[in-house]
Symmetry: D2
Subunit: 101 residues, 4 copies
């Protein structure tokens, strides 16, 4: 089952600067061979369900190892059976409507 996910991990108890933890997660996602797109409030991920959620679990494990005692993550998870749709397709579909295509 293919899935498109929006992933936003927030380490708690390590101060206000969290970008080094997010960068570490980006590396884990890339190492898992997943297609990703970083944005200002999370990372879009595209892949097979088990690959994506395996990588998300490793992010939690790794961020705890880095010293964060507590983590809260927000995920949006999209699946569909009617057709194949990529992250690019989703953005393009809205942009075409805006251009009147």
């Amino acid at each position: 089952m293919k899935v498109i996910v929006d992933f936003c991990l927030v380490p708690i108890g390590v101060g206000v600067s969290v970008s080094k933890y997010i960068a570490e997660c980006e590396i884990i996602l890339k190492d898992a061979g997943l297609k990703t797109q970083l944005h200002a409030y999370g990372t879009n991920i595209e892949g097979e369900w088990d690959d994506v959620f395996g990588a998300v679990k490793r992010c939690h494990e790794r961020v705890h190892e880095m010293g964060a005692p507590r983590i809260t993550t927000t995920l949006k998870v999209g699946t569909r059976t009617d057709r194949v749709q990529t992250m690019d397709d989703k953005v393009k579909s809205v942009q075409e409507k805006l251009l009147g295509v």
Copy 2:
């Protein structure tokens, strides 16, 4: 790794009434032996990471089988290494502050 999750699955393309899909997910979560608490905008789940996410995957599979062509799910996922904390502990901790305990 223990996890506390807030799970909100939304089937798309099956009309406005979605409670029968949510009820089916409640059964899947219970059958997985997970502790759950239904609320007005999702379900809190407590358990081991793999058990919880295995059940969430089965919910997506089952809701598609029931005829929903598209699903968008929102998850909040909390882990901590500093101490053990249950769903009840979290609510109690806030309520004690409110009571001035």
Copy 3:
């Protein structure tokens, strides 16, 4: 426009214990006359759009005043025009399906 919201505020940069900030938000929501239901990963709120979002803004302002330099909040926001539905209705609707009503 009536709205049902799930509200989860996370102060960042104040350590791992956040319940006193959540308790303060509960008071703000109650003072705004909103119907609320605390759960293990947030608070359900029912009310008029402007009342609810005015209270959410005051929560951010107050938690900053209490010393949190950074806040990340997750909201789920539900509106419908086909019929009136309360938080209790939503839970009951799922529970009835589970009971085979």
Copy 4:
């Protein structure tokens, strides 16, 4: 109070194709003079609290007018008092860590 928001509106009861509703919201956000960035699972928005939430409310009103009987929206809402930070700053901060800057 400046805010960075991640906004994901899902119309329910209008079938599986929702891009025309999202496109309409993009126009509303632009008309409000807000800085936005569309991604595969939502739209990042940067602006003053009242401007952003005023526009989000208009999106709900407009999508209902377009015929959607039910809407569920997910928002992530970030505020900070320790320093000014834009959407670009957030992405850059992670990218610099990845490049070892």
